[in-house]
Symmetry: C2
Subunit: 331 residues, 2 copies
Amino acid sequence: VNGGGTTIAVDAVGGDHAPEAVVEGVARAVDADSRLEVALVGPERVVRPAAEGHVRLTAVPAEETISMDESPTQAVRAKRDSSIVVGCRLVKEGRAHGFFSAGNTGAVLAAGTLVLGRIAGVSRPAIGAVFPTPERPSVIVDIGANADCRPEHLVAFAHMGTAYAKTVLDVDSPSVGLLSIGEEPSKGSTLVVEAHELMRTRVPGFEGNVEGRDVSRGVVDVVVTDGFTGNVVLKVMEGVSATLVSQMREAMTSSPLRTAAASVLAPALRELGRRMDPDVYGGAPLLGVAGAVLIGHGSSGPDAVAAGVATSVTAVRGGLVERIAAAVETD
Amino acid sequence: VNGGGTTIAVDAVGGDHAPEAVVEGVARAVDADSRLEVALVGPERVVRPAAEGHVRLTAVPAEETISMDESPTQAVRAKRDSSIVVGCRLVKEGRAHGFFSAGNTGAVLAAGTLVLGRIAGVSRPAIGAVFPTPERPSVIVDIGANADCRPEHLVAFAHMGTAYAKTVLDVDSPSVGLLSIGEEPSKGSTLVVEAHELMRTRVPGFEGNVEGRDVSRGVVDVVVTDGFTGNVVLKVMEGVSATLVSQMREAMTSSPLRTAAASVLAPALRELGRRMDPDVYGGAPLLGVAGAVLIGHGSSGPDAVAAGVATSVTAVRGGLVERIAAAVETD
């Protein structure tokens, strides 16, 4: 770790477009931030040439690769020299301030938990996701680390999501909603009804239950839910957007006149598409482990990687881990 | 119940636009189907004049009304002369073949269960919802009757959804998917992993897990999930569509030239809107009770009411209740 700068370890072989997209994205991130250094982690034949000639890019060899469909915990235990395990180890040893990977989500979760350990008081690390809404982005926790939860886990998710919204989304006093199937505290599953009761007194900014239709409207900064529901919600949002956009594209090009009209609207729709693109928010934070770890989408291109690295820097400089530790301790 | 025709009891005072929208919708449904009779249930001052002069419209007085925000079970127990309770009683007594209400969903669920009773072998009635996908509609069960479920409940939801798809969506051999957070049988909550194991051998047409992003793509005819997740999913779909459409409308009218181009596309987009409008599918079926009961959206206008009544007729004529009974018995 260098003087006043920030060092982010980056998994060179994570994601469908690695290593090219990662190397290109890292170069862009380094160019955009003069106080950023990157430790590029991966097979020597990949990282050595990529770091060549860049003063703020270091090659860190890690010869093994965990593929997207490997069983996470087994792979992390077996492949001690994989880019994901080595990247986490750099953070653990203080040689990097944070880690970004667009690789196997489960493996990053497992390696982050095993190598870095949990923040004191956090029993279940969780994964957050930032998604666009008309006014400003919201964060949802958990999106898949914990398919089965107890009420107290949801309380911790609220603290971690709040810390992330403060650190990365720059919200002073984030509002928090518990995802349920009715606004009344009595509505919902047993898990949610019990969590509501706990959150009422223990979560600053808690505004009660929010419903499915509120999520995309952005009525709260932080949406709290179990990892099963959160994963389904995030993927439903992706799916509906994709289906609707492709249906509209078809409708808008169903005749030459319509195609001409659509071309007039193309810049406005592209701009909207950019505004609603979740990739600009730089990946999904692994919350509750003792280090700033972000997980990129498997399909990450150079822009998404650059955003992920930049967001990792923001998380480090804003003290994400320390904020979570403080929130959990004072709860 | 008349000779060869079908009689549907309709709640005259259910929904935000009742009684006008209901009376108008019923008139349209009756006009469109010469073998349909409707028993219009509600306060005498409303139903008597509405039925006046229509040979296939009968007024059935029920002086009490259960409002949208009343506690369902209490209201159903206390208000024996409410339109919802009386409508269910008409079906129970064989004076109507089915019941449609755009009123308080929980009250229809409670009255349907208490008055009509459950189909033998069904321990938990559920609510289904039909939603549009690019190729053809899908049905999702449960969307809110059961926030907490056991694995065997999901098996019954699959049978009931399959019967509905056969009867109302006219699918010969419906495909069934279990909503989860990964395709592998081992992925998901404990509930879902255990349900998958049961469904594998007991549900005809079972194609395994489906993920959130598959739902709107229509990869299966029947999506099975617990009532908490199903309710959230349905409302997220509504919310994302509404947000996206309003954002696009804004983008497409952000200059005079764009507004002009948008007006060229308006017919195509309206047609798409009609195709993706869930109201055309006639409401949410209450599945597992001993009678054909459909619940309309609270915001139902005349078209939605007419569609709901017509769908009730289809459910009755196609033997929905008998199909569910047979599927549960042979399981």
